[in-house]
């Protein structure tokens, strides 16, 4: 079980500020620290601690999947309870399946396909349909809205 970690106001301000972006300049931490009214060394040590305690999972550039020569697609299937486990195994056996969640809905199996090209998404989806005998619904993203999640300060 994961226990929520106590964060003080400075940690929270850092968490919120650094979701908004980070400067591309020689001394980016000094700039952000200035904005937050703290010193650079405080920002560096707080951020290191947040990363070490896994409050943040990652800090750095987020690259567009397509630019990395990859494609991603959210997919869903409707699977009967009695065959759910067996089909989950079949689906998970594909290395292209990056995440797979059971969700409470008629479409109860939701997974992400990650492949090198867009065309391979179709190919893997068809393979899954043939193996499992179930339709694979494809939900590629058409537009993404990102502002980020905020913690109360």
């Amino acid at each position: 079980m994961i226990v929520a970690v106590e964060l003080d106001q400075t940690d929270r301000a850092i968490l919120n500020r650094l979701q908004d972006g980070f400067p591309l300049s020689p001394a980016p931490f000094a700039e952000v620290a200035d904005e937050l009214g703290i010193v650079e060394t405080t920002l560096l040590s707080r951020l290191s601690a947040l990363k070490e305690s896994r409050i943040i999972t990652r800090f750095g550039p987020f690259y567009d999947a397509a630019a990395l020569g990859g494609a991603f697609c959210l997919c869903a299937m409707e699977v009967a309870p009695e065959e759910f486990y067996a089909i989950a195994e079949q689906v998970n056996a594909h290395p292209e399946v990056a995440h797979n969640y059971e969700r409470q809905h008629r479409l109860n199996m939701w997974f992400v396909l990650a492949t090198e090209t867009g065309a391979e998404i179709e190919t893997v989806a068809q393979e899954l349909e043939q193996e499992t005998g179930h339709k694979v619904y494809l939900f590629p993203k058409e537009e993404e809205f990102f502002i980020g999640f905020r913690v109360a300060v």
């Binding site: 908004d20 999972t57 750095g60 998970n92 969700r103 409470q104 479409l107 990102f146």
Partner: protein
């Protein structure tokens, strides 16, 4: 813009994260035998063209006590879906928000928003703010809670000769 072999080396050096040091880009540049100016210019170009979506932290919602999350899905009038998507994406409790194609009749929903809370009651309470924001532009909605993680592996950049 397409990336070249040098850009690809920068991507490989930074996709796991930036070093938490006073001059992180200089450190990356050193490790690649490049100048800091060159790394900054190339990353700026990648950011301008959308190859770098953002430079930021990814918070761990579970560690922050946000242990409940619901995938809320909405059937929103196409004409206003993009505009309303921006507004929903800006809500502080929404971590991801996307427009996706519908798959009628099974799936009439085109807007997906991941809502986080400390428990399901809180998720439901926050969801009502989206209900209010969408108003008459929404014809239907559901919330899908995850009951089990069946697989979770990191996404990886495959080795490729630039």
């Amino acid at each position: 813009m397409s990336i070249d072999a040098t850009d690809r080396r920068i991507i490989e050096a930074t996709q796991k994260g930036l070093p938490i040091v006073p001059n992180p880009y200089a450190e990356i540049a050193n490790s690649l035998g490049m100048s800091e100016l060159d790394v900054l210019a190339r990353m700026k170009a990648m950011q301008d063209s959308g190859i770098i979506r953002r430079i930021a932290i990814a918070p761990n919602h579970y560690a922050l006590g946000m242990t409940a999350n619901g995938m809320t899905v909405w059937d929103v009038e196409d004409r206003v879906a993009s505009k309303l998507g921006h507004q929903i994406g800006a809500l502080e409790f929404v971590s991801h928000c996307y427009l996706r194609p519908r798959a009628r009749p099974m799936w009439p929903y085109n807007l997906f928003a991941m809502v986080h809370g400390t428990n399901r009651d809180e998720v439901e309470e926050k969801r009502q703010q989206i209900v209010a924001l969408l108003g008459d532009h929404c014809q239907g909605a559901e919330t899908l809670y995850s009951s089990r993680i069946l697989k979770k592996t990191g996404l990886r950049l495959r080795d490729k000769k630039g």
